[in-house]
Amino acid sequence: MLFNSIEFAFFLPLVFILYWFVFNKKLRTQNFLILVVSYFFYGWWDWRFLSLILFSSMLDFLIGVELAKSENEKKRKALLITSLVVNLGFLGFFKYYNFFTQSFVDAFTFFGYQIEASRLNIILPVGISFYTFQTLSYSIDVYKRKLVPTSDWVSFSAFVSFFPQLVAGPIERATNLLPQFHKKRIFSYSKAADGMRQILWGLFKKIVIADNCAVFVNEIFDNIELYNGSELFIGGVFFAFQIYCDFSGYSDIAIGTARLFGFDLMKNFAFPYFSRDFGEFWRRWHISLSTWFKDYLYIPLGGSRNGLLMSIRNTFIIFLVSGFWHGANWTFIVWGGLNALYFMPLLLLNKNKKSQGIVSPNSFLPSLKDTFQILTTFIFTVIAWIFFRAESLSQAMLYLKKMFSKTLVSLPEKTPLLTLSFLVFFVVCEWVQRNREHALQIEDYQFNKPLRWLIYFSLLFLIVSFGGFQQKFIYFNF
């Protein structure tokens, strides 16, 4: 079920009523309701893949129980390896089987050997990369004794399949989300109201900004040869906003929805396009994934503790793996590598943690220096996004070649002005609200009710009147 669908508009209020008015007596029944509706939410897309989530949940639950019982380190390690192999095995099979097969064939062909390998017609289960990482974090944390495993199967399964964040995150840590299933949730008016505001803002980002940008971006990427450099540059900028608003819009809706049910999910985006360097960008972009890789890959690899060379190696590893996590295509790996390269100067100069906090906290406008840094970071990000969006490396190279031609400084013949005006409005809102959790967090402003409702209605009106063609969320592909 998509957040931006009519079905969800009926599903959410119904679940809300059942949750707070019917199943509110016992915590266990409330958790059971979450489990059932989460499976229903997922099964709406394809019920067959529920078996995968169910299996994954049962396996990690049992492994957690066994890990708690055992003091034998060998057995504990074997249990952890089982969890890793099975979960990553599923992910590898469904997501990467065809990629690896094709890459082997290509490699052999390159060296003059013709081999044949059959490709399988595999459907990628929606959200597999997200819930796999979530259950893995549980097994690893229990193994490391950072988390006491749960003995409540319903809570654990509800944690794995919690519908607001099941298919596209934020990738929650068991240490944060699982304990919330163990204590009674109390309804908070202000939390629920802010949750609704965040949902509204998320829908605006997805339906008005991302889906409208998508129309222009798809046209440009499908017909690169027809457009000049400046139009291709605008196409790249539009894609940067499309992917940001698509994904962060999803996260906003997920976080807001969870808040309606009394849960706090982790922040996933913190106004990343106002970053002054790439260190800051990656602390603000897809935070739940970046910190997952930091905690479960970068630090176990040694992080920055073993000298500069090891730091560089580990940085490249996490960026390349992060790229590969997004999809089975060389374009994602190059995107990851490019971001690692962008990060290198900061690492070498030991300035990767230089830009902390929000930009220009005490003034309305950024300083010239900040503006320059923000724009430079953004432009480099756009270049990397071209690899992310392209179907193949050759398409990305063609795009860049045409973009960085003489026509880059010519006037674009085609600019979707309406979408551009939405973008300007969006950036201004985000800039003004950059010190908050989301751009529609307005309860501190002491606006009276009619004004607040007028703001909400205006956004709603933009959503129903100017929404682009309903598009799937991009991150459903990952």
Binding site: I6, F187, A193, F457, L460, S465, G467, F469, Q470
Partner: protein
């Protein structure tokens, strides 16, 4: 919690009410302010889909006004005919596109497909009667409900753009004939054409025809030239088309130019003339006029 639920309900209902009132008011404004009048010198109205949109140049056929538009099924054509004929009593002839594909069930997608509803409904909404809206709603409830609020802004826009956004002659510059031939060959090998009639299309075609009968407007059904490759694969459909014509539209004149073998250079693809073809064809029509009786629906030589 009850307060929260009450507030959400109140906000939801109020928003719904404001949206409904805005839809209604914008429809009224658009219906009364939009300029749908056509020059008095033009007594022939041309309606249909991309075939007619790209084939009949109304600057060459000077007595006509081409308001055909690509992707327009008979449901929208009927809305347009109703509105334009009402405000232009001097129009005495309606030329309507009429081909196999126009009345085949493939066209149902143009009636209630998601993308078509999104693309078309907002432009034609101000012309809808209640039964038309309910018909569409019945066809695809979800898409119609989602797209209904979008008509508010569009209705206001239409007041300024007038009929321009509802059709007009658009010559085709694209050259896709070779590719189309190859695709056609492949399609024929895998999915040979089937010809099942579309109830929706025929219903609104007949409604348009009845409207013209009522207003004493002569109806000309026009099958514009198509490429011989396409024609030869559709020969089996000829009877079905003629049956529809003879049984339900018998007072109309049916002009079948699809059997004309024209040069490849005049086609944009298998079903459409290009700008050169449009010029030649429009000049031809201008010379012979729409009034000449044609012996269509005679058996074709296979």
């Amino acid at each position: 919690m009850r307060q929260f639920t009450k507030n959400i309900l109140a906000f939801g209902l109020l928003s719904l009410l404001v949206l409904l009132v805005s839809i209604f008011v914008s429809k009224l404004l658009c219906s009364s302010l939009i300029n749908t009048s056509i020059s008095k010198e033009k007594n022939v109205l041309i309606l249909g889909t991309s075939q007619l949109e790209g084939a009949l140049n109304d600057k060459i056929i000077t007595q006509s006004k081409n308001m055909a538009q690509s992707g327009t099924c008979y449901f929208y054509t009927y809305q347009k005919a109703k509105t334009i004929l009402n405000s232009n009593p001097h129009i005495d002839t309606l030329v309507l596109g009429f081909s196999y594909i126009d009345i085949s069930e493939n066209r149902d997608n143009w009636f209630y497909g998601d993308k078509n509803i999104q693309a078309k409904m907002r432009n034609y909404f101000f012309m809808f009667g209640l039964t038309d809206y309910l018909d569409l709603l019945n066809g695809n409830t979800k898409a119609v409900l989602v797209n209904t609020p979008r008509v508010i802004i569009n209705n206001l826009k239409l007041i300024f753009t007038g009929l321009n956004s509802l059709g007009g002659f658009k010559p085709l510059k694209r050259d896709r004939l070779l590719k189309a031939k190859a695709n056609h060959e492949m399609e024929m090998a895998t999915y040979p054409y089937k010809f099942n009639l579309s109830e929706n299309e025929i219903k609104y075609l007949v409604k348009t025809y009845d409207l013209c009968q009522l207003k004493n407007v002569k109806v000309i059904l026009l099958f514009t030239p198509i490429h011989p490759v396409l024609k030869s694969s559709q020969l089996g459909f000829h009877e079905g088309l003629c049956e529809t014509y003879q049984q339900q539209l018998s007072n109309a004149t049916f002009i079948d130019h699809s059997r004309y073998a024209l040069a490849d250079s005049l086609f944009s693809d298998l079903g459409h003339l290009n700008y050169k073809g449009a010029k030649a064809y429009s000049e031809y029509i201008n010379t012979i006029g729409f009034s000449e009786p044609y012996k269509s629906c005679t058996p074709l030589i296979k």
